[in-house]
């Protein structure tokens, strides 16, 4: 039970990083931390007591496996996270090229 709560604490750390940091790169790292926390939570949901890894092998019979479905979900989610991160870093580099700074308090061209 406590390990799920720690996962959610890690997620909240990532959200804090997005909300309060001023450097663009630190905001991106905050998003990455939150993503990893959600993936970890999904993998922890799959654990069965005393289970083995869900891979067949030709010489042994495996009777109790952990649930393999969240592993497939997390693989997909990792690829999605990679694409989002690559796009965010590309946009951040172009912002540096145009504005000359990474500080978001100085990138306020759009008015209210």
């Amino acid at each position: 039970m406590i390990i799920y709560l720690l996962c959610l604490v890690l997620f909240l750390c990532g959200v804090y990083c997005v909300l309060r940091k001023r450097n663009i790169i630190k905001i991106i790292i905050g998003i990455i931390i939150s993503e990893y926390a959600v993936h970890l939570f999904l993998i922890l949901l799959a654990y069965r007591l005393g289970g083995r890894s869900p891979i067949f092998s030709p010489d042994r019979e495996i009777t109790n496996m952990v649930d393999p479905l969240p592993h497939a979900l997390v693989l997909t989610a990792i690829v999605i996270g990679l694409a989002s991160t690559a796009l965010l870093v590309g946009i951040a580099m172009r912002i540096y090229e145009k504005y000359g700074t990474f500080d978001i308090t100085r990138i306020r061209e759009l008015k209210r």
């Binding site: 997620f11 959200v15 997005v18 663009i24 905001i27 998003i31 939150s34 993503e35 959600v38 939570f41 999904l42 949901l45 479905l69 969240p70 979900l73 997909t76 989610a77 999605i80 694409a83 989002s84 796009l87 965010l88 946009i91 951040a92 172009r94 912002i95 145009k98 504005y99 990138i107 061209e109 759009l110």
Partner: protein, 500 residues
Amino acid sequence: MVNSSIIPLFVAVPLGGAFLNSLLGRNRKKVTDIIGVSTAFILSVLSFVALRLYNTHGVLVYNVGGWKPPIGIGMVLDGLTAFMLVTVNVVAFCIAVYSVNYMEKFTSKWKFYTLFFLMLGGMNGVIITGDIFNLFVFLEIAAVASYALVAFGTERHELEAAFKYAVMGTLGSLFILLGIAFLYGYTSTLNMADMGNILAQSGSANIVLMVIVLFLMGFGLKAALVPFHAWLPDAHPSAPAPISAMLSGVLIKSLGIYAICRIFYNVIGFNQEISAILMFFGALSMIVGGLLALGQWDFKRLLAYSSISQIGYIVLALGLGTPLGIIGGLFHLFNHSIFKSLLFLNAGAVEYATGTRDLKEMGGLASKMPFTGTTGFLGSMSIAGIPPFSGFWSKLIIIIALVQAGKVGYAFWAVIISVLTLAMYIKVIRYAFLGKLKEKWRGVEEVPLFMKLSMGALALACVAGGALLLPGVYEAFLQNAEGLLTNGTKYATVVLEAIK
């Protein structure tokens, strides 16, 4: 089985168009245009075929790869799906035709079409899927493609708006994934029909409350409900005009409102608490969007705030829960796609001709650009709710439904904001189109052919939109969608029977 095999084509055709464009259309303009417009045309024809198929055969389920749900992924064609498919694909076709001429000013038009069809494929996938994780994957495809499209011109304000939109959108998606994780842990299945059955039988548990909160945060951010709306007034004006029309017209509806409908009505089950929350957020969006839009002098930023307000109308009507309310909400969704896209394309045409978006600098453009002026006038009258245009009928149904259900306070605010909407659009028309022609605009001329064609088609749909309430068309289009939502979690049994 042969009948339902049209369903995966809605995802396969736009993906095929996108990758063919990336391979063949590198530097050849004509090839890019032909592939782009023909793919969009095929999709809009297919959506009408799907609507007819639903009306003759009932609910259709397609098993991907031959694996039967709930083990495999199922794609479901029912009333709400057919309704949304027609809306999304027809509007996308008009926008694809418009961008043949508008994107001449940007380099690398093939990249635009590739990203556009990836986004369209993602949106279609969200609408047709019957599996909740598949919905998340398609939602991410459409969302990442839209972040790239907002930053397409790589000017300074476009990049800043795209960064803000991307960070907030990724956070929203993470909340949705957390909600899906909780639901999977509780019900141990990912199929939406199966999940609906299990949640209906087990009663209300505390974890379902947490899932409702997480989904409201996530999907509310995608649908731009207040207080999750902060990305929209920066992202929608900064994008190029066809992308603004696409984002405001179909993306926030397909990704946000359709997903809210599907999950809160069919999976979790509709009860009093969800109704109260949705109505409160809808009314808040309506009021905040309307009030903030009055003070704007940037043409597209005013339209973006007005989008927030109209989405508030739709969520307010859908949160009511009575059949008349749902019909009003869905009809307003269809109408809003048409006239908001038309208005954004209009703003794009004005920007194409004059190069500015500031209302204080424009004036008297109706004498030089009569076609744009007329379509802009039609769109504005329709969104403000003037009879006999389509916007009047949908707002009337929403207000009647609110009064019939006894929520007179909400109905009062709906009428007030409708009057405010009329005021803001009269301001737009007076400053942009009427009045004296300024000296520097002597040389502007009317927009090219394709832009005129697409704006004309959308304006025609605005005028004729009231015809959707006529007896024959009404059953075929709106009533099936509404019947599906009022069924609630009994949808699950209908789908599970239709699996062969």
